[in-house]
Symmetry: C2
Subunit: 336 residues, 2 copies
DNA sequence: ATGAAAGCGCTAACAC
DNA sequence: GTGTTAGCGCTTTCAT
């Protein structure tokens, strides 16, 4: 039969309430008692019943991870974040649920409300791009649901972020160091923070090198392979082709490499290409892709840790900054 | 304030128990009453409290999806399955949790036990390769936890499967039709069902074409890009090189294409390459990869539906077979 | 076909 | 520092 809190209490010769206190790391239990209760729990392999706990305590020990499955980033990226979040939740014996939501759908808020009413998560972790969706944030605050964000655009909340602008700058500086001057940039979906930062980093590096911005070299993409192909065709049709292309993510960079093949351009001999994210794909291409590595798994873990800190009453939480790593591979070489 | 079952009962002028009956689709409620109660629920936007429900009813309305995050398949594959499972769970107002587990770890069963004791899932969905891990299945049966499998090797249980052997046969027949005779196969991780079926299909097609098996043309891989590269190098070093390579998944096929580049072999002119799974990568390579498309998302949904059918007392469930689709792309062409 | 009473396993509020 | 009492919101069992 199931071991209940009451059984532990009897075994440790204390009241149920005391066992509850120990279980929840509350104060006002003497060290001796605490130890005795812990031993009893251990010996009996006691597992608190989550439903009883949440019913009585009015908290669910549940964290929901929200993501956009419409114009979402690469599935690898999300999978890694998810693993990180899960890891942190496990460590604190919280459970996690995942919720795909469509930001561009008009019943977004209704679905969010349903999630909250149906499952009562104690908090949520937000992943890009919904990290910056104002109506969502507003609703979460209205309903008093704490949240932590992965790579938010604004700095107000808690969670984790990476200096994407500095990373973009670093990758463009790498191209500049290889002697490239006509460097193009393929932009991501307009309102995503990722797109803005990477574009800003590109501009900053170009300006610092004394290169005036050539609007023809900045083309719009949409984070997909196909949009990379289209953007690259536009670039290759120019009178003065770029000698290097920095795409705002690896998928678009792959599209650029594909289009290069169509145009008979050899990468990296005729054209250097680089991306952003370091998806597994980046290593599998031939030549392998120069890109920026994000510690996605760790970012997921950190965001969840910040949220859990708040839920467990361990202070207000913060926005943690993580480092990036420039991965130089075969797709970039000296300018022709 | 929260609307409770009792409030609905009052509004519909019935007892709480009757509302409960309606909520759970039980018998012994007159149509008129049922309708009235439903209307009241709707009007008040009633949401049953999941914890109260599971505490009193001794069921969690929770489905756990188990996967191996050690030698797991591509993350895209799992992400799609996950989305499908989630879709089915949502439709029946079950919640879903995901659990990475390491099959090759000695505390596997302990972790499984912890999952069951801590979260009390009403059932679990198993994904390859843990679908076939005997100790796991045994423990689930011992603890009376119903499960449904995605692509199990043995036919006893419920879930969903695809005729992978027929698919492998089809892809090899495609190569044969292009005039290839020296067709190599890169095998996946030995004990995975996927590896066995795909190898069996290869053999079957070759035998049917009257080609004796050449052991040198069957090399071991491990489902990873790197293992595809290694396997291909082995093949290209042969006196008589193959003119086509069928790799047991897309990642390995990508490795084969990479190695072909190293050896100066043009795909598909000098060498045809095909894979299995139709990951997004397959379309992004250049040339794009001929492969087998699995309806992963739908498979996840179907597996979950079968499980939910059992949990909801809707009969015993079955092992549903789904069709595959041969995707012919640029990586395969007439034999040189 | 419907209802009354009891209780699932835990925690909140309040004693002491 | 510890215990007592009364629920949390639902389902069970057993009446009727």
């Amino acid at each position: 039969m199931r071991v209940r809190l009451e059984d532990v209490a009897r075994a440790a010769s204390v009241s149920p309430k005391t066992v509850s206190r120990v279980l929840n790391d509350e104060a006002n239990v003497s060290d001796a008692t605490r130890k005795r209760v812990r031993a009893a729990m251990e010996a009996m392999d006691y597992r608190p019943h989550p439903s009883a706990r949440s019913l009585a305590g009015n908290r669910s020990f549940l964290v929901a991870m929200l993501y956009d499955n419409n114009d979402n980033p690469a599935s690898t990226y999300l999978a890694e974040i998810q693993d990180g979040v899960l890891e942190a939740c496990d460590a604190h014996r919280y459970s996690m649920m995942v919720r795909p939501l469509r930001m561009r759908s008009d019943d977004f808020i209704r679905r969010l409300d349903a999630l909250i009413s149906d499952h009562h998560p104690d908090g949520v972790v937000l992943t890009p791009p919904i990290t910056d969706y104002a109506p969502l944030l507003k609703r979460l605050r209205e309903r008093d649901v704490p949240y932590a964000s992965v790579s938010p655009q604004s700095g107000g909340g808690i969670g984790v972020s990476m200096d994407e602008q500095a990373a973009a700058r670093a990758i463009v500086e790498h191209l500049l160091a290889l002697g490239h001057r006509r460097i193009a940039h393929v932009v991501g979906i307009a309102d995503h923070g990722a797109s803005r930062w990477r574009l800003a980093g590109y501009r900053e590096a170009m300006a610092a090198a004394g290169l005036p911005e050539d609007p023809a070299l900045v083309v719009q993409g949409a984070f997909t392979f196909g949009s990379g192909v289209t953007a690259a065709r536009e670039l290759f049709a120019l009178q003065q082709r770029p000698t290097a292309v920095f795409a705002a993510n690896d998928d678009m960079a792959t599209g650029v490499m594909w289009a290069a093949g169509e145009y008979g351009l050899k990468v990296p001999h005729d054209l250097s290409v680089c991306g952003f994210d370091d998806t597994p794909l980046a290593r599998q291409l031939w030549p392998a892709l120069t890109t920026i590595q994000q510690p996605s798994r760790e970012m997921g873990r950190i965001a969840a840790q910040q949220l859990l800190g708040v839920l467990r009453g361990r202070g207000p939480g913060e926005l943690v900054q993580v480092p990036f790593a420039l991965q130089i591979r075969g797709s970039t070489a000296r300018a022709p």
